[in-house]
């Protein structure tokens, strides 16, 4: 089961969060801070899975942006790992039309422009 889905930048600022299991709002902030700390402390040659408390984190890094998913033991890590990429691709597809239209407006302010930029680079 997926517990939460986060997009956090390297500075530790949450850009997107979605919880599928209720967590108190004030605890969310703490959790997110710890999660990003964990992700940042890992080097490139380490694997993308972290055991954290009684659950697991699966993360992928796109430029300065981390997508982190919290899962419990019933979930397959690799499936979630690919899911993240799928998600990013979908974002790219979904927003590219819009983004191109108003790109000038939000190029610098919003993460998803970066996202689509990154995804373009990858493809």
């Amino acid at each position: 089961m997926i517990k939460f889905f986060l997009m956090v930048n390297k500075q530790g600022q949450t850009r997107l969060s979605r919880y599928y299991e209720h967590v108190e709002i004030n605890k969310r902030t703490m959790l997110e801070a710890e999660v990003i700390k964990k992700c940042l402390s890992r080097s490139k040659d380490q694997c993308s899975f972290i055991e954290y408390k009684d659950f697991k984190l699966v993360y992928r890094q796109y430029a300065a942006l981390f997508v982190v998913v919290g899962i419990n033991e019933t979930e397959n890590e690799m499936a979630v790992y690919e899911l993240i990429h799928n998600f990013v691709e979908v974002l790219d597809k979904y927003f590219s039309r819009v983004v191109s239209e108003i790109l000038t407006l939000i190029r610098n302010i919003s993460y998803f422009s970066k996202l689509s930029y990154v995804s373009h680079l990858r493809e």
């Binding site: 949450t14 969060s17 998600f87 979908v90």
Partner: protein, 1108 residues
């Protein structure tokens, strides 16, 4: 999985609702679009521009204040509200609570146009949680939208239901959603299935009746709907895989189609067809095929195909994980990868190290345990994270206990676990360790050596003055020193006392640990004639500020003055002896009598007082379920048994009993209970050793061990090529790690459930409450405790068919409950022929008794003659002779067709409900191959197979078959349905159902008052109820007789206006009943280990009492 993407995506339009080109047809005009974009846009922009958390907070608070003003202003339009919601969602996502907006989100969902409604729903699903009270306000809106003709509204309602919905309101929307399963649009059908999945997760019994509709969804022509239904199936199969075996074919076909690329291209991900769907299907197949050869065979082809097509992935952890799972099936596979595993052990990534250790844990055996545990301890020392420590410490302790090569190593390893694991280790670890020491093994000499070694090692550890040990470790040490230090003769007890004394003065020692230490001091003091340290200690702590310590010191002081009493109170090595508490407090009789003599009112328990008060006031009787005294004593007794502070337990007891001399109220007398605690404290024991003698004699496992040890692995043969020094080292490590994994040793490695090589074999403890029959079962079980089948099989293999052999071998590889399962299915059918029946059913019996105290459903093969036999009878069905004498019901007709008539009769045997089904052939020609099939029922379990085939039924004759049925899940009444099909000119099929009630499975339980008392105290599930007695049978005995006759309860004893009764639910779940009459009411008080049973019985009691 794909719906997760979708759900997550739904967050984005919330953020950027206005950017969504499809979502805003007419509502968001040119101007509104720009303004809302700029509002949210500028908020995001300014937040991104900020550098510190503090600034962000300030900005958001400012934003929230202005939003609060806007949303609560009456003039705010819905369009503006929608725009505010989007910003609120953003603020809340950043972690700032905006609860003032929740109610407005609900309103928006209720009142807005499409786009506004959508934002409202989205906000609700993000803001609220399952138990939020405001959620109830959404129900009406959802109901209205579900009935809407606008597809988009229906979709939105279904989406929100599948994300968040109050459980208690499910009935309000369920019929609407069920209808949607037939909707013409696939997206509606899919969302309806998702909503039902949600319901299944939060309230499974509410959707029970639509299980066949799920089947339709599974076969839906749209792949999306099918994929959604897989979520439900995965969940259901997880809970009960045997119920869905018939769907294996369908899942295989689906997987075949997916793998074969038959799905629309939209489902492809990087040219892999629907990978997440594949994973889901593979999981389902895995569950279905587990331990089931026949079902698995159906899958081989498609699995092979999927494997071939799947690309090999290189993430190393994943590989390791896969290996870990594979190894569970066949440990030899690890041999091929040993060098990889060794490399992973030194991997810089701790996560990978962890996974490697997990793998090693699974392949541990008696020979490699030292190396593996060493590796694990190394990791444990480096580890900082609490969860990792708890997990790993538990595993090390388990391995050490199971495979320890010698005492010294075992104690040293446990010492490391305690000192490194510290106080976070699971409390079971020290408890198990101490129990192991206390209960010992088969060999008394060995026991004492182990204990002596432990004592010595702790003394050495305590030598170090400044060492800081975790509290739990100190507690373990002090307990062991207290119990067993007298075994070590070359150490002066005074030395030990001094050490303990100095520990007591340390500041880092918590008061709980001090209590343990004091208990140890007391125990040691009981062996010494006089000790300066003890005197000093008493003096020192008698005026301690810590009241607890002062109490202990006083107790010690008084005991120390009376050596004889102290010796009795603290017998040597008696920690395993069960302490029996005189719960009736009969030693207070005198005190009570004296009190009554002086005119005191007799004691009434709290609930009785309350009752009487209420009944006098003629008010409604809400009987409070206060804690009964009896149960508090029993819990006291239980903790007292293992508590290191046995002394204070004694004094607590006397304190309690002074207040509550309730003998005179004629409550339960527990006369037969052995008195160990009496007026003078601990009463001298006479029969304590009896319990020990009953304990099973465990057979030495030497023989089996030899098998394990045999065959040194021939693993290095193909790797002899030239090696560097480092490689050689690794090879050496490999050979130590993988030793014992040769082909012969495979048996013991599965799932950590084997006990074959276990050095420290725990004795099973006989529960006081078990009756003697169970106790003898226990003895049997101990004899065949490990590898019960390995003992018997090799002798008999030739007699059996090959497949039985493999089946049983397989069984022995799995955990013990699957052993049971396999036996359940295989033994009676196939082995009877070869005459092994007796032997194997013996084994099964003893297996099952292993679970006797944990109340797991137990399979006990009933005499084979009962289970499946068919014989000819006359056309008018009547019971076969051998059954006629047993209590049975009328023969009732189930159904009729032109050719056949079905009748059934319930025979209530002692150990099961024997359901006899008669099939009568009314035609003038013989019928061939008549099949009887019982469907899987939720509440009932048919022992052995649910089918029966009559090869032929002659014209105008009746055949019958019998099935043993048990109640699997408690219900007052349930239906067992089934079908019959047969070949005549064409295939005919018809269905029937039989109603079974709880009472069909209740049998009287014979026991003595004494046993009743013990059992009563050990049970925890209480149900109390008062029933009004009709005037015709005002007396207790009349009521009891009714219960005895109609409910098959056994009357154990009647004392005054109280009676105790006992019964059991087959196979062996007891339920005890205590009845008391007062002022025209009958107070019933049930206790049972099973929580649902008292409720069910209470219902029956009420029914029969009303009828009479």
């Amino acid at each position: 999985m794909s719906d997760v993407v979708e759900r997550t995506l739904s967050v984005l339009p919330g953020l950027l609702g206005q950017h969504d080109p499809g979502a805003g047809p007419a509502g968001a005009g040119g101007h509104g679009r720009v303004s809302s974009t700029s509002r949210l846009g500028s908020l995001i922009r300014s937040i991104t521009a900020l550098t510190s958390k503090h600034e962000e907070e300030k900005l958001i608070q400012q934003e929230l204040t202005s939003l609060k003003a806007t949303v609560s202003a009456p003039t705010t339009t819905l369009r503006l509200m929608k725009e505010c919601m989007v910003r609120l969602i953003y603020c809340e996502m950043l972690g700032y609570e905006s609860s003032f907006g929740y109610i407005h989100a609900i309103k928006l969902a209720q009142q807005g146009n499409l786009l506004e409604k959508r934002v409202g729903y989205l906000a609700v699903s993000l803001f609220l949680h399952e138990n939020h009270e405001l959620l109830l306000l959404l129900v009406n809106t959802v109901v209205k939208d579900l009935q809407s003709t606008n597809l988009v509204e229906v979709c939105m309602a279904l989406t929100v239901v599948s994300q968040i919905f109050p459980r208690e309101m499910i009935p309000a929307v369920l019929p609407l959603i069920e209808d949607k399963l037939q909707h013409s649009k696939e997206i509606i059908r899919r969302k309806a299935v998702q909503a039902l999945y949600k319901f299944y997760v939060i309230a499974p019994n509410q959707v029970q009746h639509i299980h066949d509709k799920f089947r339709k969804a599974l076969c839906d022509r749209d792949a999306g709907v099918m994929a959604a239904s897989l979520h439900i199936y995965l969940q259901m199969i997880k809970e009960n895989s045997s119920g869905y075996k018939d769907l294996t074919g369908s899942f295989v076909t689906i997987l075949k189609q997916v793998v074969g690329g038959k799905l629309p291209v939209d489902f492809n991900y990087h040219s892999v067809p629907a990978p997440w769907l594949q994973i889901q299907l593979l999981r389902i197949l895995g569950l279905l095929g587990k331990d089931d050869q026949r079902t698995s065979e159906l899958m081989y082809d498609v699995l092979d195909e999927s494997l071939r097509r799947a690309e090999i992935n290189h993430n190393i952890t994943y590989g390791l994980k896969a290996l870990t799972y594979v190894i569970q099936q066949d440990p030899n596979l690890a041999l091929q990868h040993q060098m990889t595993i060794i490399e992973c052990l030194d991997h810089p990534d701790p996560i990978i190290k962890r996974e490697t250790l997990e793998l090693l844990y699974r392949i541990t055996n008696g020979q490699n345990v030292i190396v593996i545990v060493q590796k694990m301890l190394d990791y444990l020392r480096e580890s900082k994270e609490e969860y990792a420590i708890i997990n790993l410490a538990g595993k090390i302790a388990e391995l050490a206990e199971k495979y320890a090569p010698d005492n010294e190593w075992f104690i040293q390893t446990m010492n490391s676990v305690f000192s490194v694991g510290g106080d976070v280790v699971h409390p079971d670890i020290p408890n198990n360790f101490l129990r192991l020491l206390a209960e010992g093994f088969d060999d008394g000499k060995e026991d004492n050596q182990l204990r002596m070694y432990a004592v010595q090692s702790y003394l050495t550890l305590l030598e170090e003055e400044d060492a800081l040990y975790p509290q739990k470790f100190l507690q373990v040490m002090s307990w062991v020193l207290g119990e067993y230090s007298s075994l070590v003769t070359n150490v002066d007890p005074e030395v030990i006392l001094t050490k303990l004394h100095s520990l007591l003065k340390k500041t880092f020692v918590t008061s709980e640990t001090k209590a343990w230490i004091m208990a140890a001091v007391t125990k040691i003091a009981s062996h010494t004639s006089c000790s300066k340290t003890v005197d000093k200690l008493i003096q020192e702590f008698s005026n301690s500020l810590d009241t607890c310590m002062r109490q202990h010191a006083f107790e010690l002081k008084h005991l120390y003055e009376d050596k004889a009493l102290m010796k009795n109170l603290l017998p040597f090595d008696a920690s395993c002896n069960d302490m029996v508490v005189d719960a009736s407090l009969s030693f207070l009789d005198e005190f009570v009598a004296e009190g009554l003599g002086r005119g005191a009112a007799p004691y009434k328990p709290h609930h009785q007082r309350q009752e009487e008060k209420l009944s006098q006031e003629k008010a409604l009787n809400f009987e409070p379920y206060g804690l009964s005294f009896a149960s508090s004593v029993s819990s006291c007794g239980v903790t007292g048994r293992q508590s290191p502070t046995g002394l204070s337990f004694g004094s607590d007891m006397s304190g309690n009993s002074a207040e509550t001399g309730h003998k005179e109220t004629n409550t339960l007398k527990l006369e037969g209970v052995r008195k160990l605690w009496g007026k003078e404290g601990y009463l001298p024991k006479k029969e304590n050793k009896v319990g020990k003698e009953n304990e099973p004699q465990t057979v030495s496992c030497g023989g089996l061990l030899a098998v394990q040890v045999g065959d040194p692995p021939a693993l290095q043969s193909d790797q002899v090529a030239s090696l560097s020094e480092e490689d050689k080292e690794k090879q050496q490590l490999a050979s130590t790690l993988f030793i014992g994994l040769g082909s012969n040793a495979g048996v013991s490695l599965m799932g950590k459930t084997d006990t074959a090589t276990q050095k420290f074999k725990r004795k099973s403890k006989i529960n006081e409450t078990q009756n003697s029959e169970e106790a003898t079962d226990f003895q049997d079980s101990a004899a065949s405790d490990f590898g019960p089948l390995l003992d018997t099989i090799p002798i008999n293999v030739e007699d059996c068919e090959g497949n039985i052999d493999t089946g049983l071998r397989k069984a022995s590889l799995h955990s013990s409950d699957t052993v049971e399962d396999n036996l359940a299915f295989e033994t009676p059918q196939s082995l009877r022929k070869s005459g092994l029946n007796d032997r194997l059913s013996d084994n099964t019996l003893s297996q099952s008794s292993l679970f006797a105290d944990s109340n797991i459903e137990i399979f006990q093969p009933s005499p084979s003659a009962h289970c499946e036999s068919a014989s000819k009878t006359l056309l008018a069905p009547s019971l076969p002779e051998e059954l006629e004498d047993l209590p049975h019901s009328e023969v009732v007709e189930l159904c009729q067709s032109d050719a056949l008539a079905l009748y059934s009769c319930k025979v209530w045997t002692d150990d099961s409900l024997l359901l006899t089904v008669f099939v009568s052939n009314k035609t003038t020609s013989a019928l061939n191959a008549v099949n009887l099939l019982f469907e899987e029922a939720e509440h009932f379990q048919i022992l052995e197979s649910p089918t029966y085939q009559f090869p032929v039924i002659e014209a105008q004759s009746v055949e019958h078959c019998q099935k043993c049925v048990w109640m699997h899940k408690i219900c007052t009444q349930g239906v067992l349905s089934g079908s019959v099909n047969y070949q005549s000119e064409m295939e005919s099929h018809f269905e029937f159902s039989i109603t079974l009630s709880l009472m069909d499975f209740i049998r009287p339980m014979e026991m003595t008052t004494e046993d009743f008392g013990k059992l009563w105290l050990s049970l925890s599930n209480d149900v109390k109820q008062n029933i009004k007695m009709s005037s015709s049978e005002g007396s207790l005995s009349a009521a009891l007789n009714t219960l005895q006759q109609k409910l098959k309860l056994h009357i154990v004893d009647v004392i005054g206006n109280e009676g105790i009764l006992a019964c059991q639910l087959l196979p062996s779940v007891p339920c005890l009943l205590h009845c008391r009459t007062h002022s025209g009411m009958l107070a019933l008080w049930f206790r049972s280990p099973c929580s649902a049973l008292p409720d069910g019985l209470l219902y029956q009691c009420q029914k029969v009492m009303e009828e009479s």
